[in-house]
Amino acid sequence: MNMPIAWLTLRQLLGAKRTLLLVAAALLPITLAIVFRLTDPDVEPARFIAQTLLGRLVVGTMLPLAALVVGTAALGSEIEDGTAVYLLSKPLPRRVILLPKLAVCAGLTLAMMLVVTVVAGAIAAGGEEDGAAVILGFAVAVAAGSVVYSALFVLLSVYTTRAFISGLIYVFLWEQVVTRIFTGTRILSVRQYTIAVADGVAHVSSSVFDGNLDTWKAVVMMVVVTIAATYFAIRRLERFEIGETA
């Protein structure tokens, strides 16, 4: 782990206006959980947490958006404004540049989402037994999902200058619409992997979750996707050409 690069990446991310927006957005699920608790509606908390609060809002929207914003800001914006040259012109193998960047992205996304998951979940569950299991399941799942999404979006950002918009299309069109309608495509959805992991870890009655992917399959797919994305990102960076316009 190259510490100067990790330090630089962290400075980049924490200084960016978009990261602040993310932190503000992270307050949404927490607010929702507080409102849920205060008004005490007649929905079973575990089900509300698994399907709406954490399943739909956190895993379905916040997690991919956070990973997208962070993942494309770390290296993509550097390539775009030309500052990547300062890293690429150092006597370091390119993987030594990419891996710390990826680790910081994944770590930052993970930290933000873990806090949101645990705090919002705990508030909404209010000590209910099934609730604790569901939160634990989601904590593990969100951690794993952060890594997979980060690897994917960092890969995207070294391949295309339109990484952000492509990522948006993937998140909103593919994961929100296509995989809902065509259930067969769920084997290719990070969101579905994440839900499946949460389901497997939580181990509560099947009515709580609405996923339908085997947990072990999901785990295998997550490992495969992460390794492949990282490998191709490094490969791309090794052959990265900087011309007159780039």
């Binding site: 929702l32 409102v35 929905v43 709406t52 809002l57 952000f164 918009i165 948006l168």
Partner: protein, 301 residues
């Protein structure tokens, strides 16, 4: 080169000539920028690819009204499919996509290419620039709102045997159609420009505008569903779509439907008085215009 003349030959002066005509000043500059932006909203004067999205969405917005017109042509006395007051619910996403795609074009491009500096070095003031842009997007939206309403009006009129009679009986529909259409366009344009003017990057601007509508809609839905009518109802004031629906019904003086399949069921469940949505819309407008004003006062050129 100076002019030279003889009986049968002339050399004319092609050198620099001063401009002695009128200079029309600030108001002319605002109007010019407004018209230019209005054209730009539909990609006119730009390459063909810039026209695809705005024209595509405008056509999509017209489809329901055109269907009504078609039905009127084929069979005169069949049920009406779309009402004036409910039309915007069918096209709300199209309008949102339109402003999300077009607002960054109108305000982001000038920041990206730094043409803003040139504008501010002319007689335009910063506030003039903001006015021209909001007005242009508002007007552009008329094509997606008032035009289909007008087609719909014709469609319904054609469905009757007596065209003149229909117009005479139903002309009272027109003021609310126009009032709600103008307010809707102004409302959507202001929100979109307030968000889009914050960044010069098109992807972020488009994403931001869409994210506002999508997330606020989802939050309102979740809150209403989990909290129920009494308290959850206020959550609809987060959502731009619900507000637009609310003030449209208020202007048409129609109560939301209690049918679960109706698009206005959320409003029925929330049980708020419809004028509340109208006030909310005005508050949103004031806030958005304030944000836009501040943005252009502060932006460095």
């Amino acid at each position: 080169m100076s002019e030279r003349q003889s009986a049968s030959g002339n050399i004319y002066d092609l050198g620099y000539r001063r401009y002695e005509g009128v200079r029309l000043g600030r108001r002319h500059a605002v109007v010019t920028l407004y018209l230019h932006s209005l054209r730009a909203a539909f990609g006119l004067g730009r390459p063909a690819t810039a026209k695809i999205v705005p024209f595509g969405l405008a056509i999509l917005a017209l489809i329901p009204a055109t269907i009504q017109l078609g039905i009127a042509a084929v069979a005169s006395d069949i049920v009406e499919l779309y009402s004036h007051s409910g039309y915007y619910s069918y096209v709300q996403w199209i309008i949102a996509l339109f402003v999300a795609a077009v607002a960054p074009e109108l305000v982001g491009r000038d920041q990206r290419s730094r043409t803003l500096t040139l504008y501010f070095s002319r007689s335009l003031l910063r506030v003039d620039y903001a006015i021209a842009k909001v007005a242009a997007l508002t007007t552009a939206l008329f094509v997606l709102t008032l035009l289909p309403q007008f087609v719909l009006f014709l469609g319904r009129a054609f469905a009757q045997d007596d065209l003149v009679g229909y117009a005479r009986d139903n002309w009272r529909d027109l003021p609310p159609i126009i009032a709600s259409g103008v307010l809707l366009c102004f409302f959507m344009a202001s929100i979109a420009i307030a968000i889009a003017s914050q960044t010069k990057r098109r992807a972020f601007a488009t994403g931001g505008v869409l994210a506002y509508f999508a997330i606020s809609l989802a939050m309102a839905g979740i809150l209403l569903a989990t909290l129920g009518g009494d308290t959850g109802g206020w959550a609809l004031l987060l959502s731009g779509f619900h507000i637009a629906q609310g003030f449209t019904l208020w202007i048409f003086n129609i109560e939301p439907s209690s049918s679960e399949t109706s698009s206005t069921y959320d409003l029925y469940q929330a049980g708020l008085s419809l004028w509340v949505y109208c006030v909310a819309a005005l508050v949103y407008l004031a806030v958005c215009l304030g944000i836009i004003y501040r943005r252009y006062q502060g932006i460095s050129a």
